[in-house]
Amino acid sequence: MAKKIIPHKIPMKEQPPERRIKNFDEVPYGYTEEEAIQEAKRCLQCKKATCIDGCPVEIDIPGFIEAIAQGDFRSAIKRLKEKNVLPAVCGRVCPQEEQCENFCALNKKYEPVGIGRLERFIADWEARQGPAPLPKIPEKTGKKVAVIGAGPGGLTVAGDLIQLGHSVTIFEALHRPGGVLVYGIPEFRLPKAIVYREVDYLIRCGVELKLNFVVGKTATIDQLLEEFDAVYIGTGAGLPWFMNIPGENLNGVYSANEYLTRSNLMKAYLFPEYDTPIVKGKQVAVIGGGNVAMDCARTALRLGADEVRIVYRRSKKEMPARNEEIHHAEEEGIIFEFLTLPVKYIGDENNWVRKMECIRMKLGEPDASGRRRPVPIEGSNFTLPVDTVICAIGQSPNPLIPQTTPDLKVAKWGNIEVDPRTGKTSKKRCWAGGDVVRGGATVILAMGDARIAARSIDEYLRTGVW
């Protein structure tokens, strides 16, 4: 019997824009149990579930959704966690519209099933039940794995390998685990308590966590290899780019990494209760069009800015940010200056940024990325008053590890080279994945890489064959 199709996703309630721009609380509230069951019932339970093909970690999507539809939340979370150690995170920050939801059969004619929303719902449901039950961990194999970086990739590798009986130690340079989930993504998009809950789960599973340990400085990879059988490098893309235009070293000009780290990791938005300060600009310009740029702009707004502009050199169509992020930014009143490129920043006598000079662009022929290349329109220069500028144009891998590991092959921009089928680097017993390999990508791709590497590491540890 044909099922009656509900064309749209069950809406997810969220904080209204005028209220949320005054706080750092999470924007969407998440589904209630009834809403989740209703949304889960929209799933067609396709025999050949193409949504799974769109998931970098191959979650049994129809499986966990069916369990939700039946109100069997315990089975749903169990299904989900078989493939994803960080469901509460992925449900919030994955670009589902390009992945699972893009492949949803409903997507041809209607809105796809809200897979991300359901993932988030079931992970949050589990959190409300108290500490998650631990999986059965097999007998120890006696093999030891070092994971460098406690970001989404590192946490995934650790979760997979501890469940296979290996000993795992994560080395994290910062004083908190979570990597970009904690220093980069703002509280209003991903509450930090969620990340710490997931990390706590891994620790209860037996993963060891060493904070303030800067691999490349506190110890080199070669030193780790003396103690460990395998090393996974998941150090992310921590080297911020600037445009190399005049005035970038003025006070008030930030890299996105600095701005977000101050606000998120150091909680500068709670200054002076927390000691780390941040410039609370009134007229803020954010350079770039990705998710990071949206995060910076929305953070600036919450810090009390009067006007926040996204300055992006291409048009709206080419913006790499997720639709949901752009939508939220628009709702909150962020101003978009499309086809605009900063050419210099102008400061006062105390080195504080006061103005930025921009040039308007037009779209020319497609470039290597397939997007139309922006070209400057001569004579279109104009200036904008600014007191804070945040440069969110991307980043490349941090060079500390390649610099101190001479036999690790790196490509242009310092990305570590790996075999994509296994995650193996040029150096024996070393694997890598995520942004340190890809440059700036996404949380879920880092987790997908991590899953591939974990499989390969386990195989190596069992067989000894490199």
Binding site: A173, L174, H175, Y183, L211, N212, F213, V214, K217, T218, A219, G238, L239, P240, F242, N244, E248, N249, N251, G252, Y254, S255, N257, E258, T261, R262, M266, K267, F271, P272, E273, Y274, D275, T276, P277, V279, N350, N351, N398, P399, L400
Partner: protein, 281 residues
């Protein structure tokens, strides 16, 4: 780990901590620094290592009490723990036998130049050290510097100890005495490092200075420590902290150091107010 084993007041407002941290002690080299975070709501602050002992598994840090964080740090005592210490960070000082070298330490820079002078001495250099302070009561590390130097010159701004004048006066005199100087190392306030670099510039004596910009992560991730070296932007945390003193844009460094002046003042005022209330109660 991170337990304070010894606290020593070097001068009014300048404190030394000997801290247990085997990992950092095993790897530290002259010229490197650590990032510390005192407690949960504290900021991350960079502190150059004054000493390290791999056998004992300890590192020494010296700090001047200037803002809220250092005021709070100064309240710690032996047996207390510092919440987080990461390091050793930055590139170590390049140390080899250059011949005759001058090590200049000004104020709280003297403890930082100490391991450099010692390393240079151990590598066979003839080490001339100049240490300066405002006045006698702020003169620190004299005995230690004497032990690792072939010559030690002392200056105070007010003449209450050693020679009256600045470290650069002593430096000029040494250069004018026609001794061949192969390299100069200077650590201290920005104005002092700039003055030292200007003193050696006409003589083309290679001069290295250790820069102290604002830092956050200290691992190259945030870029707040941007400095201009020969017109190019560098990150002091991973490309430095030591740079060719003749190429540094000191004016930019000074101005960038003032970024959070207003917030620092606010934090200190609030801290002193709470402290006073706390102490009275």
């Amino acid at each position: 780990m991170n337990e304070i084993l010894r606290k020593k007041r070097l001068a009014q407002g300048i404190t030394l901590f000997e801290v247990k941290n085997e990992l950092i002690a095993a790897k530290a080299k002259p010229g490197q620094f650590v990032i510390i975070r005192l407690k949960e709501k504290s900021e991350r602050i960079p502190l150059t290592l004054q000493d390290f002992n791999p056998e004992k598994g300890v590192i020494n840090i010296v700090f001047q009490v200037v803002g809220k964080s250092t005021k709070e740090l100064d309240q710690l005592n032996e047996g207390d723990k510092i919440k987080d210490i990461a390091g050793p960070l930055g590139r170590p000082t390049e140390i080899e036998n250059f011949g005759t070298v001058i090590c200049v330490g000004g104020g709280v820079g003297t403890p930082e130049i100490y391991p450099v002078a010692r390393g240079l001495k151990n590598s066979g250099n003839y080490v001339i050290s100049i240490i300066g302070a405002r006045s006698k009561e702020f003169m620190i590390m004299e005995e230690e510097m004497k032990a690792v130097s072939d010559e030690l010159h002392i200056t105070t701004d007010d003449g209450s100890y050693g020679k009256k004048g600045f470290v650069t006066d002593a430096l000029k005199e040494l250069i004018n005495n026609n001794k061949k100087i192969d390299r100069v190392f200077a650590v201290g306030p920005v104005v002092m490092m700039q003055a030292v670099s200007e003193t050696t510039r006409p003589y083309k004596i290679k001069t290295l200075v250790s820069l102290n910009p604002i830092m956050l992560d200290g691992t190259g991730m945030c870029g707040v420590c941007r400095v201009e070296i020969g017109g190019k932007t560098k990150f002091a945390c991973v490309d430095g902290p030591e740079f060719d003193g003749h190429l540094v844009n000191y004016e930019l460094l000074s101005k960038r150091l003032n970024t959070y002046l207003k917030e620092e003042k606010e934090a200190v005022e609030l801290f002193e107010k709470t402290c006073k209330e706390g102490c009275n109660g």
